[in-house]
């Protein structure tokens, strides 16, 4: 599968991103240790011009990584299952890839979140004529290096791990059983929570998150650390509950089978590729939540940027409110439609 066009495209995007990133990181490493905002000598002005270039480079790195991530999702969910015997969706592909497949998704996802936070901080910085957040933005970009490296490495391992002659049993993984050689045993860490709890956490959480977004839209304020950590915790718990509720509660209504807790079948064209909406919208909400927390932190530590931070928080709050409600509607719609058609819930 190493020569599949999509794999080559992702590798090419990664390569370009690395080339741009390396140039940006090299500049940052030569600029940050000598950064003197009060000086106006030729060296400091050269450093400031270097940072202008670094900010464009960071933007292109983020774009390359985002496109690569979307291509990776498309490949795992819709294109590569045909290359893996026994795979019917992304679950089979990830099974063939081994742990490296999921790790690739996690590292690249976290990398995008980090780059989005950096982008948010930089946009806030650009609302002020002087460059106030140069050291912070530089450090955030340097922090991306290990995540980028891990993403690239785990993707290489994942692709190399796919054996086109070794069939997988993706449904066994789905039904949370694993073949130990002595029979099928429950997968360690399988959820024992009742589905109703996940549904409550997902939809109740969506309303809570929407309320949190509305609050920031109407009254954007620079709150304390405790409130920020609570909000981050709420977003994290909600993110987990969304995945679990989609798998166990919403999936039957979309797939129209009683029990098929597969997150990747949502992405199949046969199911309208609704996964890109059902997972993409919460991901966007969580990214905007991270932007709110970034703006709060910037506004708290840099009074000159407080007003801009409040505006950013209000904008993010509106998008969070809309996103959470859109998600709740999109996830509940197939369930409600089923209830209206047949007069009963799927149990």
């Amino acid at each position: 599968m190493s020569w599949h066009p999509l794999v080559l495209a992702i590798r090419l995007l990664d390569l370009i991103a690395w080339a741009i990133y390396a140039a940006a990181a090299w500049r940052l490493l030569s600029v940050l240790p000598h950064w003197q905002p009060q000086a106006a000598g030729d060296r400091q002005l050269r450093r400031e011009r270097s940072l202008e270039l670094v900010s464009y480079q960071a933007g292109w790195v983020a774009v390359m990584q985002a496109i690569g991530f979307v291509l990776l999702l498309v490949g795992v969910s819709n294109l590569w299952p045909s290359y893996v015997p026994g795979a019917m969706c992304g679950t089979g592909v990830l099974q063939a890839m081994g742990p490296a497949g999921e790790q690739t998704l996690i590292f690249k996802g976290v990398l995008l979140l980090l780059l989005y936070c950096r982008h948010t901080a930089e946009r806030l910085d650009r609302t002020h004529p002087n460059i106030l957040l140069a050291p912070l933005n530089g450090r955030l970009l340097l922090l991306a290096a290990p995540l980028m490296a891990l993403g690239t490495w785990r993707f290489a391992v994942a692709v190399a791990g796919v054996d086109r002659h070794e069939p997988v049993n993706c449904c066994a993984v789905l039904y949370e059983r694993i073949d130990t050689g002595d029979g099928w045993l429950p997968l360690a860490g399988s959820s024992t929570m009742p589905d109703g709890i996940w549904a409550l956490a997902c939809f109740g959480g969506a309303l809570l998150v929407a309320g949190w977004g509305w609050h920031h839209y109407r009254r954007p304020g620079i709150v304390g650390n405790t409130a920020s950590w609570l909000a981050a915790g709420l977003l994290a718990v909600w993110g987990v509950s969304v995945v679990m509720a989609l798998k166990t509660v919403v999936a039957p209504y979309v797939y129209q089978v009683l029990y098929h807790p597969c997150p990747w079948c949502f992405f199949l064209v046969a199911h309208g590729a609704v996964g890109f909406v059902l997972f993409g919208v919460p991901a966007g909400v969580i990214a905007e939540g991270a932007a709110v927390l970034t703006a709060r932190s910037v506004g708290f530590h840099r009074p000159a940027l407080e007003e801009a931070a409040r505006r950013r928080m209000a904008g993010a709050g509106l998008r969070i409110w809309l996103g959470a409600l859109l998600f709740a509607f999109a996830a509940a719609a197939p369930m409600l439609w089923w209830r209206l058609r047949f007069g009963a819930w799927m149990q």
Binding site: A40, D42, L45, R46, E52, R126, H128, P129, N130, I131
Partner: protein
């Protein structure tokens, strides 16, 4: 309009490893005292104006506009500040594909949504510069002197706080030069900070308009009187 002023703080501009074109220049240009900068060809007069107007960035030092360090601002803020600047370039830089009227209206593009008012203002300026009825023509259809007056109209249409003039009368006959100097006196009286670079002896002779004449040589700005 409050009186505008530009300050150069140890302003240096260097191309590559060559000797600096501008070398640690410290000067204040005030609206109350329009300044004429003289100097030999290649002394760096145009470079000085371009750095003052934000077209070029200094390689060291700062330009302050009304006390704000605009030369070190990030690009979007510097671009926004440049809307306060009107420049008559030595080589005019009129857009050949636009009409004369459209050229004059160019500085209004980022500012206005309705064009009737600015268009009337541009026509009035063209009349003031002796170019009535030429708005629909291509700049190519005009003589060098007429084109230069179009460049003047373009620099003045947005009522800039800072007016930078690079050889602004080089293509003008005596009568038009007098008209331009009259207009310049009116603009200066309105609080606009004016800096002009020129070899033109007619400008040097205009003591009333340019009470301060500086000499730029070897990167240094000297001889202010």
């Amino acid at each position: 309009m409050a009186n505008a002023f530009l300050t150069c703080c140890q302003l240096t501009f260097r191309r590559g490893v060559a000797a600096p074109v501008l070398d640690h220049i410290a000067a204040v240009f005030e609206s109350a005292q329009p300044t004429l900068v003289c100097g030999d060809t290649g002394a760096g007069k145009s470079t000085l104006l371009h750095v003052l107007g934000g077209v070029l960035q200094p390689t060291a030092g700062e330009v302050h506009a009304d006390g704000r360090p605009v030369s070190r601002w990030s690009v979007p803020h510097r671009d926004e500040w440049r809307r306060e600047v009107g420049i008559v370039f030595q080589h005019l830089h009129l857009m050949p594909d636009l009409t004369v009227l459209e050229n004059v209206l160019l500085p209004c593009v980022p500012r206005v949504s309705a064009w009737d008012g600015p268009a009337r203002q541009a026509q009035a300026l063209l009349e003031r510069f002796g170019l009535p009825g030429s708005g629909h023509l291509s700049p190519h259809a005009l003589s060098g002197g007429q084109r230069q007056r179009v460049a003047w109209a373009r620099a003045l249409i947005a009522q800039p706080r800072f007016l930078l003039l690079d050889e602004p009368t080089s293509f003008q006959d005596d009568a038009h030069t007098r008209d331009l100097l009259d207009l310049l006196a009116e603009t200066a009286a309105g609080g606009t900070c004016i800096v002009a670079c020129s070899h033109d002896v007619r400008l040097r002779a205009a003591n009333m308009l340019f009470p301060r004449i500086c000499h730029l040589a070897k990167g240094r700005l000297e001889g202010a009187r």
